[in-house]
Symmetry: C2
């Protein structure tokens, strides 16, 4: 995937999950031989062969720490990635961010038209909950229902979708650091939090045993977004595979515009170290989570 | 709701479910006091005070025949209606059908803008699965997971969303009666089928006891769509609360254009009677389902 990774453990982990997510979507999304073909082609365009798969890797790694089967976790990871990808399709629409490129490819509406893009997003949204509620993901209905509930709340108006509307408001209203933090906790943090929570559900971790995982997710979520703002500020469009510096053009408040790049970088690193600190009760089985916490702030795309 | 109903049982049934669905959405969708307010306002605009609530009435009636609590069924009915309403919001967008009026009110994107309309649809989509997987809907996780699975499949690329893409193809391709029937079975029929299926799930009807309900749903689904085509052909825009005769303008094949209005009306009535026939094993507890089967072909909006 062209990522320069100092950490071999993480590099192997990302490559493996990327292969598994692609293979699962390829198997699930069979293109029908009727006029629905463009819909499924558009869904495949959005979910196969793009993205770092950070969310599924988080979910699978937490799940495996607690003994959940990898196959179950990968299916749940696909559900999470289906939600993430549907939100990108809709976010890229002309009436939203109006982006032409995503993951180094033309966006879904550029290739398939706007109407099919809206519907492909909607169909991926439904696919996520189809996957999670399928007995093939977990034979335990309690786990299936809890996975659905966690992801539905994290992606709805109290989570990701709420954060996206706050993000739109940030274009016309002055946001301070507190508001930007709240916005990002919803827009990006909710789904990263769901990744860790879903891994814990699959691993049958009781609610009271999840606090350190939630703290870890909160810290890397914020670090991830600060790093994103830094990449948007000083990154390379070709490596990023998408247009950059749109926030500054729109005069939108970001961590970088509010703190300055130096302070922002410092803060991201501090959060990353703090995230690693929450894992002190774990041994080497959490090394991938530690590497991931460092990766989210050091990545170049 | 201004409906002229010969049948008092049905009239009372519709009024009651309309009140219950409105009250439930009003309680669930509290408007937050921050920049997410427009999102929740847009969601409320779409789901409160509009629509006939045929799908929730079907779900609740089937559920009650088999002894499910009304409160549970109403919550599941809200989930179903949330899916129906999100699909209408997205369907009305300029890049889709570009409609200005829905249920006699301006469409969501006309009032709140396109970006908020896309996100309000997405947030209602998530809310549906949040509701179904919530222990408040059913204390039995198996029922929760089965409700989610049924609705996710019915609304996704193998159901409603697939039918909507076929519908787009019908604008540029010649569709025959077989293709139009298949299209409508997905676009409208899948969600009506889910309504009946979800009622049966809540009523703990085993899979092998659901055949007559599925047949009933299939027949009223088709009758419903033929009646919709007839209304589009000869109905009153003011009563309908939306623009009519768009299919004919676009030269799109419908049951009416393929069969002629007389034959179409005959077919809708025959399907409605056939639907009633599937209920012969039930007594008066299914009278509302019988009235509903007749209503879907006789309604004037």
């Amino acid at each position: 995937m062209g990522l320069v990774l100092a950490d071999d453990l993480l590099g192997r982990g990302l490559q493996r999950i990327q292969r598994e997510i692609d293979a699962t979507f390829d198997a699930i999304l069979e293109v029908p031989e009727d006029s629905r073909a463009p819909l499924v082609d558009a869904m495949r365009h959005a979910v196969i062969g793009g993205g770092k798969r950070v969310r599924p890797l988080l979910l699978v790694t937490v799940g495996e720490i607690y003994g959940c089967s990898r196959a179950s976790a990968v299916r749940a990871g696909c559900a999470l990635e289906a939600i993430h990808c549907y939100s990108l399709i809709h976010d890229d629409l002309p009436c939203m961010d109006d982006d032409d490129m995503r993951h180094g490819k033309p966006t879904v509406h550029k290739v398939f038209g706007e109407a099919t893009a809206v519907l492909a997003g909607d169909a991926l949204h439904a696919l996520a909950f189809d996957l999670l509620s399928d007995p093939a993901t977990s034979s335990d209905p309690f786990i299936r229902a809890e996975l659905v509930h966690t992801l539905a709340i994290a992606s709805g108006h109290k989570g990701m979708a709420g954060g996206q509307v706050m993000d739109m408001a940030a274009e016309t209203t002055e946001f301070d650091l507190h508001s930007v933090t709240r916005l990002q906790q919803l827009k990006t943090g909710a789904l990263l939090g769901a990744a860790v929570e879903m891994g814990a559900i699959l691993g049958r971790v009781p609610n009271e045993g999840r606090a350190h995982l939630r703290n870890y997710a909160r810290d890397i979520g914020l670090a991830f977004q600060i790093a994103d703002d830094l990449l948007d500020h000083e990154g390379d469009e070709e490596k990023a595979g998408k247009a950059l510096r749109k926030d500054a053009e729109q005069g939108k408040a970001t961590f970088v515009s509010l703190m300055g790049p130096e302070k922002a970088r410092e803060q991201a690193r501090a959060l990353s170290e703090q995230a690693v600190g929450h894992l002190c009760g774990h041994g080497s089985e959490a090394d991938l989570l530690r590497a991931l916490a460092r990766f989210v702030v050091e990545r170049d795309r």
